[in-house]
Subunit: 883 residues, 2 copies
Amino acid sequence: MTSETTYVYDFADGSLDMKPLLGGKGANLSEMTRIGIPVPDGFTVTTAACVAAMKSGGEWPVDLWPQVEAHLDALEARTGRTLGASDKPLLVSVRSGSVFSMPGMMDTILNLGISDESAGALAKETGNERFAWDSYRRFVQMYAEVVEGAPPHIFEDELTAMKAARGVDYDTDLSADDLKELVATFRRVAKEATGTDLPTDPREQLKRSIGAVFASWDNPRANIYRNLNKIPHDLGTAVNVQQMVFGNRGDTSASGVAFTRNPATGVKELYGEYLVNAQGEDVVAGIRTGHQLPDMEKDLPKAFAEFTATMDKLEAHYGDMQDIEFTVEDNTLYILQTRAGKRTAAAALKVARDMVEAGTITKEDALRRIEPAQLDQLLHPGIDPSHGETPITKGLNASPGAAVGRVVFDADTAAECGEKGEKVVLVRWETTPDDIHGVVAAQGVLTSHGGMTSHAAVVARGMGKPCVAGCGDLRIDTAAKTATIGDRVLTETDVITLDGSTGEIYDGALKLTEAQITDDFREVLGWADEIRRLGVRANADTGPDAAKARELGAEGIGLTRTEHMFMAPDRLPVVQEMILAQDEAGRGVALDKLLPMQQADFEELFEAMTGLPVTIRLIDPPLHEFLPNLVEQSLVVQRLEDAGTTGAELDDARELLGHVRRLSEANPMLGTRGCRLLMLYPEIAVMQVRAIARAAAAVTKRGFEPHVEIMIPLVAYWQELDTLRQVAEKTWAEEAPEGIDRTIGTMIELPRAAVTADQIAQYADFFSFGTNDLTQTGVGISRDDAEGSFLQSYIDMGVVPTNPFASIDPDGVAELVRIGVEKGRGAKPGLKTGVCGEHGGDPDSITIFNKIGLDYVSCSPYRIPIARLAAARAVLGDTVKDA
Amino acid sequence: MTSETTYVYDFADGSLDMKPLLGGKGANLSEMTRIGIPVPDGFTVTTAACVAAMKSGGEWPVDLWPQVEAHLDALEARTGRTLGASDKPLLVSVRSGSVFSMPGMMDTILNLGISDESAGALAKETGNERFAWDSYRRFVQMYAEVVEGAPPHIFEDELTAMKAARGVDYDTDLSADDLKELVATFRRVAKEATGTDLPTDPREQLKRSIGAVFASWDNPRANIYRNLNKIPHDLGTAVNVQQMVFGNRGDTSASGVAFTRNPATGVKELYGEYLVNAQGEDVVAGIRTGHQLPDMEKDLPKAFAEFTATMDKLEAHYGDMQDIEFTVEDNTLYILQTRAGKRTAAAALKVARDMVEAGTITKEDALRRIEPAQLDQLLHPGIDPSHGETPITKGLNASPGAAVGRVVFDADTAAECGEKGEKVVLVRWETTPDDIHGVVAAQGVLTSHGGMTSHAAVVARGMGKPCVAGCGDLRIDTAAKTATIGDRVLTETDVITLDGSTGEIYDGALKLTEAQITDDFREVLGWADEIRRLGVRANADTGPDAAKARELGAEGIGLTRTEHMFMAPDRLPVVQEMILAQDEAGRGVALDKLLPMQQADFEELFEAMTGLPVTIRLIDPPLHEFLPNLVEQSLVVQRLEDAGTTGAELDDARELLGHVRRLSEANPMLGTRGCRLLMLYPEIAVMQVRAIARAAAAVTKRGFEPHVEIMIPLVAYWQELDTLRQVAEKTWAEEAPEGIDRTIGTMIELPRAAVTADQIAQYADFFSFGTNDLTQTGVGISRDDAEGSFLQSYIDMGVVPTNPFASIDPDGVAELVRIGVEKGRGAKPGLKTGVCGEHGGDPDSITIFNKIGLDYVSCSPYRIPIARLAAARAVLGDTVKDA
């Protein structure tokens, strides 16, 4: 009948655009075949066949097996080999291949066609009897497990028993005869376990193997994987049946891997390794040392010439640097796999620029091929990769970049040495606001406690300074000035190297590489700027940070945390004076002292960002963050009491404890902070707005052009914004001359603010989504507790795909952002919206923000290039999938 | 022209349904006039006139003043009096009256028409020259302030100066001549302040007064009030011009107030007070002692007969007990105002039942007239209202009802005395889980700290036990066993009375009244059950609580907090053993001990609720809630260290501190609790489900019919529910026989759960909205910190209309509930949804839940009747507005 469905396609009859029917692997094999790349011959059973079989409970469409046999017959004819034959046997692999990549989720059978008869022929062809029988015993094990459902341990048990009997430690110590014996043993135990003999007819084995691959589509781990990755369950998998080729058939055979360009530098040159008379695994696993690719010209000249031409063809066809696995069998070249090659950031930029200049690909395609997160490598110094040292310990990679310095244990020493130009690494249990001057002066920071969002981590990232946090192996004795890791005791005479990009710590000084903001970098980022729709701003609190951000491409400041300015050691006492004041008058005195300090800060920012918008958030954290910790102060008081101390010292300590207690909160995250503080103490808002207005007036006089955006944090109710907007407007009007650009907006960082954004928009010139806090309240996770808590277990268990503080939760928190934007713009068309949480620098989050339609993202200065590239890629859509 | 708009209506030409045009007051005066009630004559200027004037910047429609003058002419003709005349003067009031009640927000002018000429006539007619001049000087002041914008203090200053000059203390000590002099003085200072003479023509005064009332629609406080109450700003106000009548024109005149039924008992009898030759204020203000209403039959027989007939007519017309103000002027009865009379809960039920039985109103109307919250009075003992004592202090009314008992300062003493049958009141700084046995044994609880949602308050409400919390005046010395309030020192020999409904504390034993679950109560609640759509369930953790809830009408249990069972003193050590276990095996040992305890609890619940659903929530709080506090344990360790203690005692204390530290969280509300705990320690879930299943099996054998609903708390991700549902299903299948009704659902109490409810619904048989936590995360307010925090200031400032933990936030948190229901039902049509936060017992919240379409609410047992009534009223729609 001519109307029968085609369930099987030869590789020669398919192409890349048949992926829905042939799956990813099948379509790629067909595509290579189609363009004339020498691929081992074979055919693909379609996803439609799998779906049909699944629908009828495993029963195959009546046409299916005849079609497979016909294609197998043809394959045997084309290769001149026969499945299971004792002469010129054909061996095939049977591999799943679904439309969406599901690595390792479904089953594979290799070496099908091997049998008592063909094993001997394989031994002869390869001249390696041991290899032939090892391939055979592996096939029996794989087939019995995958197809017949035998439990894996029965084979492992026998293998172990055999090694014990022979008195050897490794599989490779077993002889050909041993392996031959194992084949029989494996067959026997498989029969015992499954109740039936394994079939010996290779065609029957093939039929059952295809059925097993179909069934593996529905195994539990594949189902879980599809749930997690939102892959539909009804797609089915294709099955690829492909001739096995062998690079170990003697000196005219070889296996190898190669890149079409140097993956470290991006330079177009021969780069790769090969081994004569070897299997691919030998090269990949490094069992034998490979030869450099250029040498292959001497060893196998014909295959070499064909291979270099094939590399060019593949690179041109896929439009990207390729990572290629190949085998030469009897002087015949076979390409086993090609895919986009992994490369360093510097190489990625060079390759992109070269290929665009050569006209091979467009700028858009070039941008699609560069992972934004990778750019981080270029923005910080790194450890020269040739060091060969073993790290002495590892913590969390809290802030990227590498640093070398002498160990110091307190901020004052760090500051002192730093001023003298000495390079030091600040080692602390955890840093506090009191340590800021030490962090500034140090090359990097190492803490034993605290996570990715600890004080040290946040501050270091803001400064672009390397930080390794939460290094649990580290035992610090501040009094003794020692840090112990196992047996190694570090003192202030020791030098260490830390790598904030990996979290690794090394003893001694390693060689560092410089940050690499090259011409390639600037050129490629320029293309991104042409394409992206989202604006990119910086989170910056100081003039130097703002200047750095502008240099890296920031188009304004999206978040200035004014309270960071409160934490400088010369200011903290004044802030405490404000907090401890008994009344408004007392607070007023302290605020008057803070005002000129804040004004000076703002002047720096406005100057650095002249002509660009600067968003200044009024004070956000709860006041107790500026006071000692409750537990510590309680201990101080008790110690004084127990020591019988009386008088002013005890009174003062008790009074301070009283304040700490009064301000302490069970859940400070949900407490009296942000606009709530300003509603209770509007004089703080007045002071801050006054400082902003005076700064704007002062820099305007000096010829700069400030664009001021005053931001009210933690609004839950429109009434808060209404009230504080009035306070800000009144104060501004009193201080700033006419004509300075000034808007007033709010952060949307509470779920209530998102769902009532229509009300809040009435009083806001802009919204900035504070997705850190929105994640905390939206998901109900405290960021201060997140490290090492249930969240880490969830990530390990796969309950959440990624840390929602690193990459925005797409279904939950992003939905709140979407609702906020929709309601806000609904009430006030054209309302300016941005995001200033740490997500603003995360590529996946940026893709989502672009889709939601935000106007800009704001991130720490050193994330700016990443955000620029990610914003461009968000416009361009999905990256090209691996071939 | 006949086409001119009618801007003015005589009372005789309007009716209640013209409220949008005439405003509430105007429509009511018209309505009374229409049905023949003697109301002082007058007319209403429409809201449309006000809107027209507002739109043209205050300029009146050209027809308006001629229409007012025409109606005034007619009024003068009907009354035989003339505005401002020296003989038979007509005096009028000019009052605002908008469509929605805005009490005190807009302006009123009384006695308009009084002048140098008419004041004399008024003196003659009332025989009270002092009254006439006092009325005049009040008019001048009111007019100058309201209409001409004079500042109030200038009149107060002159009044004070006059009293000083005369050497008297009170206004009432000033003579008629003094007041006459004041009229002139007031005119003079008003001119100085406003720059113009006050007009002397009463018609000009009237015109300006109407304009001033129009303008008062737009004054700031009216705007704020409308914002808060969501009243549109463009409605405008009507203006009522009404003849003034005087009850002080001699012995044929009188003023009084009366109820159509006894407001304390609901009995139909004459109830009220009157005074001959007196103004209404004299009666209301209690300046003179009134006579009982029945006596009026002798004093003013004709007016009395007319009044009693009028009372019947008003009650019948409005279908409710009325509170009526009346004046008799020269034997002519005038009704000044009628409105629904305030009454006790007992009276409300009796009135409702009597009127329904008499066929005066329908059951629906009767239910509309009973405030659900009022029922609380009947469900608890109260203080006999005749006591006449002054409270010694006042705290928060944390749990309703009254209690008398001897003061005790610790739970053990309370338990001991309670067992002996002695009545005690437990007085604590704040209660903890360790105090539960004391709370059980005590008559009531008094705490100096903690708020409406403190441990003491929550536990007491659950038990229906009176509690006054956060009584800041109380200084407790636990060691000395004293509680000091000012000078009064309470010891364990003292008896106090506390009123948890008001927060008041009295010295000594006051007489209490019993709870009153009467036939009226049962009858009326029965009507509510016929009408309501929402189911009503109870939050109950014990058999007795469940039985009580069922008695009060609960249709199941919506929330059992299994951890409350963990807090009993005999169980806490086992729970701590579980927490401190080093591994799963150690936890297993402790869990095995807890299992039979929990099983016994569940059996009690299933028996009490046989045939009805019982929702059991698996453990919810973070584990550190069961351990000592971090600060306290830190102090314990330091004290041991300082004392030089060594050995096991110090080691144990340090180990415990280690555990406390490990489990302590910066924001426990957002921490490792609920399903997060169960994901980390699934063995806890297994133990709890096993206990539930075994309990269900055991009671089934005994002939009861359990309907089990297992509830997984704090789900943020569907993956959590998927995993734990599987754990629960597996355990259930192992333990429970086939055929027992069992469902598995989740709480929706995080914003993420609400916005991803479509995903979560796939794994849930029901949703229960935990609106307490949803408020905490949705609004970003910690309930543990809410009392006395910024939230109280917000309520005081009017930023939030009500405490969002008491009544659900309609725009924010309720919107999240709505989204959750919509998405959940969208994914799973017919999904059962309920609410089990404290909002489940709040009438306003119930109205919102009814509208959202939830299936049931669940609340503490003593709120059940309130919820039943509120659910019925939610179906019936708005309550009838006051007449």
